[in-house]
């Protein structure tokens, strides 16, 4: 299998009023092409920082973290689905989804055709001409996901994309993500604080510890695909989430104490 994400001893430090803070310490990770990997950990464990470094939004202090380019040099390396949606309020749903293509100079007809195809896949074709202020949070996040997928990046980076949604919308979007991933088999790095979400979506779950953020352990999710919400009520699912929680509980306690 080709490696798509390679991180070796990735370390991120930044200055603050209390001195140097280490957000990420000696973090190793490799993600193969077509693999769906979830990063899970307590808040402050540097999982979002790592994702943002991969996305090129932050610099690495020491070590290496990169996305391996594919054969087509025009294909973008990564695109991010942000927790805060980050859809442009001044662009219509269609223009938002076509944004990446527009930035790359793809002509109007072609980029709209691609955008419409993705809008259909996330069930928003009807809302193509709406502005983000006219649609719900769940729909905005669908737009954000469609925007990233329409740009066809080598790697999809998702930073707690469902974190701001209510439980029902979240469940619906989890199923949609599963369905879309079955179709595309994209390489995905998915940051979440929900163990259930990580096990439901991922091929592999990487646990992180806080202060400093580093890798604690790794779980292979061997639940059969295609999965859906019914998967969450199987005993295998319960066993796996239980095992992960067992491993993570002390970390969360420690992180809470460190924050207090």
């Amino acid at each position: 299998m080709t490696q798509k994400i390679v991180a070796l001893q990735a370390t991120k430090r930044y200055p603050s009023k209390a001195g140097m803070v280490t957000a990420l310490e000696g973090f190793d990770l490799t993600v193969a092409e077509g693999e769906f990997v979830c990063l899970v950990g307590p808040s402050g464990c540097g999982k979002s920082t790592f994702l943002r470094i991969l996305a090129g939004l932050e610099d690495l202090t020491v070590g290496e973290a990169r996305i391996v380019p594919g054969d087509d040099p025009r294909r973008p390396l990564n695109n991010v689905v942000f927790q805060e949606y980050a859809v442009f309020p001044w662009k219509t749903v269609l223009d938002n989804v076509a944004f990446g293509l527009q930035m790359r100079g793809v002509g109007k007809a072609e980029r709209y055709a691609v955008a419409e195809r993705w809008l259909t896949k996330v069930g928003l074709k009807r809302f193509a001409d709406y502005y983000p202020s006219q649609i719900s949070g769940g729909m905005k996040q669908r737009v954000s996901i469609a925007r990233a997928l329409a740009n066809d990046p080598e790697v999809l980076l998702m930073d707690e994309p469902l974190g701001a949604l209510d439980a029902q919308t979240r469940a619906v979007l989890q199923e949609e993500l599963l369905r879309i991933w079955e179709e595309t088999h994209k390489t995905v790095l998915y940051v979440t604080h929900s163990i259930e979400e990580a096990v439901l979506l991922g091929d592999r779950v990487v646990l992180m510890t806080a202060h400093p953020g580093t890798k604690k352990s790794e779980f292979v999710v061997d639940l059969p695909r295609p999965r859906d919400l019914a998967t969450t009520s199987t005993p295998e699912f319960a066993a796996l989430t239980g095992a992960i929680w067992e491993d993570l509980r002390d970390e969360v306690r420690r992180a809470m104490e460190a924050q207090a």
Binding site: V80, A86, F88, P89, W90, G100, Q102, P132, N151
Partner: protein, 350 residues
């Protein structure tokens, strides 16, 4: 007196008394006040009590109306109350309670406005709106110079052109400077304190300096410039705030999806700053109008500000009020125009 009427008003909340009682109370109040000659020293109390009674009557009527009439009723109320105030003013002024010399009745103000509109003032060589009905005749007799002369005699056009030209001359560079200040930390640190200091200075205070600087101190140069300067600082500082206020995650999304510097400006920064930029433009437009009227008070032979001041000097109060009315219309019109532009430029903000 008013307390008694209010108490009876409360008793019949459901019957026709809900609105009838306060109205009867109002009539009684006005009749008694007029008969006893209380107006001169107690006008404020009578007006206050009268207002309370009108509110009670309106509320009583609204409570008795079916639901589907609520919105039309409220809309009517919004229009009828100002009309009531005008009617009260008219009556108070003609009956001599208000001195008509300082507060001429609205009917006379409207008459004065008509006068100003249709008549040409031979003494100053001006008219209010430039007699547009003469345009066809002038065009055949004197050609375009004749039409230009009509524009030049118009007070409204004089003020309007100063405001618009000054506003554009101030706002356009302000947008550029504000944008640079918002984007570049060094420029911002260098300019911010200076700009904020000049921002608080009333721009009308630098008018004498401008009269020194321009070769023709009484010409249009200093007038347009003072408007431009007063618009500049408001627009520049609000553009800076608009650019800085853009949600960081939108900037990150822009660069993550491969926008270069120019695309970033065009697709993310400019539209993201627009709402606050328009706040600044709206404030700047209001300020421009204030400044130009003040300038026309002191140094102008045309313009609505001049008109107000001129009729103060000759004690023509109805025309003074008429000119104020024109200033109001100009303010409302220019603001509406800006709102139209706003809606065209920012369709996502309904």
């Amino acid at each position: 007196m008013s307390a008694g009427a209010a108490a009876t008003g409360r008793t019949g909340a459901r019957g026709p008394g809900a609105w009838l009682t306060p109205l009867v109370g109002l009539v009684v109040l006005l009749a008694v006040a007029s008969l006893l000659g209380l107006w001169r020293s107690w006008w404020w109390a009578i007006l206050g009590a009268g207002f309370v009674l009108v509110v009670l009557a309106a509320e009583g009527a609204s409570r008795r109306l079916p639901f589907r009439f609520q919105t039309p009723f409220e809309r009517a109320l919004a229009w009828l109350f100002p009309l009531l105030v005008l009617a009260a003013w008219e009556w108070l002024s003609t009956s001599g309670v208000l001195n008509p010399r300082w507060f001429p009745p609205p009917s006379r103000i409207v008459g004065a406005l008509w006068d100003l509109t249709v008549n040409y003032d031979r003494f100053s060589g001006t008219s209010l709106i430039g007699r547009p009905w003469l345009i066809p005749a002038r065009l055949t007799e004197q050609g375009w110079p004749g039409v230009v002369a009509l524009f030049n005699e118009s007070h409204v056009w004089a003020t309007l052109s100063r405001v618009i030209v000054g506003f554009v001359l101030g706002a356009v560079p302000a947008l550029l400077v504000g944008m640079v200040m918002g984007l570049n930390r060094t420029v911002r640190t260098m300019l911010d304190s200076t700009m904020s200091a000049i921002y608080v200075l009333p721009k009308i205070a630098i008018f004498p300096i401008l009269m020194l600087v321009f070769p023709d101190p009484f010409g249009e140069g200093p007038k347009v410039t003072v408007v431009a300067i007063s618009a500049f600082f408001l627009v520049a500082l609000s553009t800076m705030a608009g650019v800085q206020g853009i949600d960081k995650v939108l900037l990150q999304a822009g660069s993550n999806f491969g926008a270069n510097r120019w695309q970033m400006l065009r697709h993310v920064i400019l539209p993201g700053a627009l709402p606050i930029v328009f706040n600044g433009l709206r404030l700047a437009l209001g300020t421009a109008l204030i400044v130009i009227v003040a300038v026309e008070f002191v140094r102008a032979k045309t313009g609505v500000g001049y008109l107000v001041y001129y009729h103060w000097q000759v004690l023509g109060t109805p025309k003074m009020y008429a000119a104020l009315l024109v200033v109001m219309v100009l303010g409302v019109g220019l603001t509406a125009l800006l709102q139209l532009v706003e809606r065209l430029v920012m369709p996502w903000r309904r």
